[in-house]
């Protein structure tokens, strides 16, 4: 494996369990990837979708802590919140996730960091939803806020495959 490999995100969508799993490798050690997930000043720089403003209400990433952040665009706001259940430095974050537009819905998210050596890390993020309807809603939700974004890129991608 060369250091210039591009690590495209992989998505696994299970047919039997309502979960989505994201796998991605980073050219950084677990310590840095963990810090980029726990320090709100760093989180705010990458977590929000493109074209939306992200504001952190609070982000207390520790066992029993909680978070809330808001994405906004043109006066429309989308709030998200959850609790941190298990936070183990450089290894694991278990948290809940709720979109405030659907306050009864909650996903259980598990983020696992794996040290690949040579300053590289594999991240596996699993979201387990309440139901297949919720899971499919989550998969298709990006379209509600950004229908016109990324079409060109996506079309390019599909044209190439």
């Amino acid at each position: 494996m060369t250091s210039t490999t591009h690590h495209e995100t992989q998505i696994v969508s299970d047919p039997d369990v309502p979960l989505v799993r994201i796998i991605r490798e980073f050219d950084a050690p677990p310590e840095k990837v963990f810090r980029a997930h726990t320090d709100p000043e760093l989180v705010v720089q990458w977590l929000g979708p493109r074209g939306l403003e992200m504001r952190i209400d609070h982000y207390d990433c520790r066992n029993g802590g909680s978070y809330r952040y808001i994405h906004s665009r043109d006066g429309e706001e989308y709030g998200f919140h959850g609790s941190f259940h298990e936070v183990r430095p450089n290894e694991l974050i278990v948290q809940t996730f709720t979109f405030e537009g659907m306050p009864d819905g909650v996903a259980l998210e598990k983020l696992v960091l794996e040290d690949l050596g040579d300053g590289r890390t594999r991240l596996t993020a699993t979201s387990l939803c309440d139901s297949f309807a919720d899971r499919d809603g989550m998969l298709s939700s990006g379209m509600d806020v950004g229908v016109n974004e990324g079409y060109a890129k996506l079309d390019e991608l599909l044209a190439r495959s």
Binding site: E8, T9, Q10, I11, S13, V20, I22, R24, F26, D27, A28, K32, V33, R35, A36, D39, E41, L42, Q45, W46, L47, P49, R50, A133, D136, G137, M138, L139, S140, G142, M143, D144, G146, V147, N148, G150, Y151, K153, L154, D155, L157, L158
Partner: protein, 117 residues
Amino acid sequence: MAADPLSRVFSALADPTRRDIVARLAVGDATVNELAAPYDVTVQAVSKHLKVLEDAGLVSRSREAQRRPVHLEANVFDLMTKWIERYRQQAEERYRRLDDVLRSMPDVPPTPEGKPS
């Protein structure tokens, strides 16, 4: 100007009522009246939604739209593949920003307890 087919599919599925209609049609064909029944909207409103789905190539129906069943054209797995691809694309964009953040980070935290104020 007509949008490309994929954009039309995404636009059509951006609406929760239309996603719901597609989900119901995945189970089997249904008439417009049957589709309208669970919603607090008129048959005309559902017909409008169906027109959008029809233009996107997702459903078909005969001339006598009120009586004849609506049929789901797109295979649901096809739709799922598109949803997943877009979701993946969004995750990839997010993680490319994270790549940038990781590159800009110093090798050790500024202080053991976190950032200095």
